[in-house]
């Protein structure tokens, strides 16, 4: 799960990581009031959960009251990568002496939490990792003892020559690590971490992502979820315990299992079609789950054909068949349905569906091809 910069900064504040003086605003009037509170010049930053806000014109420095109004109106009216900007952060313009990068993730290969530092701030760290890996200094936390003080000092001494600043940075690193662990983060990033003209370290930007598997023990974090800016189908699927991701095609896919669901999308594409979505109905799927899945799927008006690809194991094909029958009745489905149901109770499923007007397929390949044909 992702949260906005301003939310991440609220968390930073709780962990005593210094941030600029700033306020989140929803209207131009609020921006004007905030700028008067903070004093000019001010930075206005679009609060959207995608990268490249700066390039898209979503971050501006305003030096006058006129600029404040103009920029606020412009940014609050814009879309960035298709996402409308609903909030901006109005922030003091920090006098920057130097910028660097500080971030924490769980390293999948080493199976350890790793702190990464880079002397260049504001960079895309994955880009640096690919192009100039030697520019990134890494220290691993001991999984059981935690991030040891001397490891945090190493980070500080790598980034800053001045011992005072280096130790302040070490302290921030320990706080960021504490936050990362305590909140089940999957990414905690200060980018850039800046030294201001007075020698103080400030987190100018903040990004925190959370491990979905850990959210159950952080209701306060779950409550930060920005429902406004999320796809409504994805939200609905989440509520109904289904895994759904909207794509841009027209063949709606209903699959059991995440890997098979991806492979199904890929197969549709492989044979020349365009999948409309990723949709995993999960393991022990009841007829109700199939109903729910179809309801969500059909909210996407691009869907012209529905392709069921079920490999029964725990999932029983007859449950799926019942779900399809019920959905056909109650949801008034007009789109043709291609069904490939194999494994547990597939015979029963065929019996149930024999008069339902479905197009049956014996294999995945067959099903994908039939779905594509139906579009023409």
């Amino acid at each position: 799960m992702k949260i906005h910069e301003y939310q991440a900064k609220d968390i930073f504040k709780k962990y005593s990581i210094s941030i600029p003086n700033e306020t989140v605003c929803r209207t131009v009037d609020e921006v004007v009031a905030a700028s008067q509170e903070i004093g000019l010049p001010c930075v206005i930053k679009a609060q959207v959960m995608v990268g490249g806000r700066g390039k898209a014109g979503g971050i501006k420095i305003a030096k006058t009251d006129v600029e404040i109004k103009d920029y606020a109106a412009a940014i609050l009216g814009m879309e960035i990568k298709g996402i409308p900007v609903r909030k901006v952060l109005v922030s003091e313009a920090v006098a920057i002496a130097s910028e660097s990068y500080l971030g924490i993730i769980n390293d999948r290969t080493e199976k350890k939490t790793v702190v990464m530092a880079c002397k260049e701030g504001g960079v895309e760290i994955e880009e640096v990792a690919r192009q100039k890996p030697e520019a990134i200094y890494k220290v691993y936390a001991d999984p059981l003892v935690g991030l040891l003080d001397h490891k945090a000092r190493e980070i500080g001494l790598f980034l800053y020559e001045n011992p005072k600043v280096a130790f302040e940075c070490a302290a921030i690193t320990l706080k960021l690590y504490k936050l990362f662990i305590e909140l089940d983060s999957s990414l905690a990033e200060i980018n850039p971490l800046v030294v201001d003209k007075s020698g103080r370290l400030i987190a100018l930007d903040a990004k925190i992502n959370f491990d979905d598997n850990g959210l159950y023990r952080h209701p306060d974090i779950e409550a930060m979820r920005d429902r406004e800016s999320q796809d409504e189908n994805e939200l609905l699927a989440r509520e109904r315990d289904l895994s759904y991701v909207r794509l841009t095609g027209n063949i709606g896919c209903v699959v059991n299992g995440a890997g098979l669901a991806m492979a199904t999308m890929d197969l549709v594409k492989h044979f020349g079609g365009e999948p409309a979505n990723f949709l995993d109905i999960g393991g022990s799927s009841s007829p109700e789950k199939v109903m729910n899945a179809l309801e969500i799927l059909l909210k996407d008006k691009n869907v012209k054909v529905i392709f069921f690809n079920i490999f029964g194991g725990i999932t029983r094909c007859d449950d799926v068949a019942h779900g399809i029958l019920q959905a056909k009745k109650s949801l008034n489905i007009k789109q043709p349905i291609v069904a490939r149901l194999t494994g547990t109770n597939e015979d029963k499923a065929m019996e149930i569906l024999k008069e339902a007007g479905l197009i049956f397929a014996a294999t995945m390949d067959d099903g994908a091809k039939k779905a594509i044909e139906l579009l023409q």
């Binding site: 199976k111 350890k112 999957s186 491990d211 991701v245 098979l260 669901a261 991806m262 990723f278």
Partner: protein
């Protein structure tokens, strides 16, 4: 021979009294797996499918000499179940439960470091050595004894590919679902090390997906170290970046961990990649 599970496997089912636990205990027994004990704290003393249930794994091990555990408990209790199995001296733990926070896996990995114990999963569909033992939820009927090792990050996609392999007339030595989480106990390379020494295995199929760089690391490892033919498949070619595709580990971060990148490196390392599940089976069939 096979790897990980075999005729010597003596299985304890953690969470045996739950819906999934009891259902799959029956399935595993039907397959011929030696299920010797079940554990549900507080329910010690009863029987499930004729299998004695204990309060603790330690007691189950003491009374039945169980050496392998399969975990079916709700995600909130799965971490504790893993630690309990490790402390009880279990040497192979197969964790079917999903939803374990990543940071708990970081800790479990460190805890396992100096223990004589291997963890498969979490979020694993299980491990099957056809004709010997089935540990987990993989449907038994699709397997056939044979010489192809299968290692996969997913569940039903594994069934799909195994089914194709069986249908082209080949069989499997052992099939391992390593699990779809970002941090897992046993990775592709760990399985390959075991397959390398297994005389029953002549070829290996790796079923990967988007997210992380495990497939990439594995490809380089194979190029340098692994002598048997390896075939690959990667799911998620059409997945968009920064979206979790079901599995906690199946997420492209920016531009890294894409299927294209993985397929490219597989091919660079002379691993034949199937474009579709059916094609994978055909490639294997042609080679062996």
């Amino acid at each position: 021979m096979s790897i990980l599970v075999n005729n010597d496997t003596k299985l304890v089912v953690q969470g045996i009294t739950g819906r999934d636990g009891s259902f799959h205990t029956r399935q595993m027994l039907n397959y011929g797996t030696k299920v010797v004990a079940g554990v549900t704290p507080g329910k010690g003393g009863i029987d499930i499918e004729g299998i004695p249930v204990f309060n603790t794994v330690a007691e189950a091990v003491e009374k039945t000499n169980a050496n392998t555990s399969v975990i079916f408990v709700p995600s909130k209790f799965a971490v504790s179940a893993i630690y309990e199995a490790i402390d009880a001296g279990i040497t192979l733990i197969v964790c079917i439960s999903e939803g374990i926070p990543t940071i708990e896996m970081v800790k479990i990995t460190a805890y396992l470091k100096h223990k004589d114990c291997r963890l498969v999963g979490p979020n694993s569909p299980g491990v099957v050595s056809p004709g010997q033992a089935k540990v987990g939820i993989l449907p038994g009927h699709i397997f056939k004894k044979g010489a192809v090792g299968v290692i996969s990050r997913s569940g039903t996609l594994t069934y799909e590919i195994v089914d194709h392999i069986t249908k082209v007339g080949l069989g499997q030595s052992t099939c391992i679902g390593i699990g779809g989480d970002p941090i897992i106990g046993t990775k592709f390379i760990d399985c390959l090390e075991l397959f390398a020494n297994d005389n029953d295995t002549e070829a290996v199929v790796i079923v990967g997906e988007i997210g992380g760089r495990d497939e990439q690391d594995t490809a380089y490892y194979i190029k340098e170290n692994f002598k048997k033919p390896v075939f690959g498949f990667v799911a998620g070619k059409t997945a968009p970046p920064d979206k979790r595709m079901g599995h906690a580990g199946a997420i492209i971060s920016g531009t890294s961990g894409t299927a294209a990148e993985k397929v490219k490196i597989f091919k660079e390392c002379s691993i034949k990649v199937g474009d579709t599940p059916a094609e994978v089976a055909d490639l294997v069939k042609r080679a062996v």
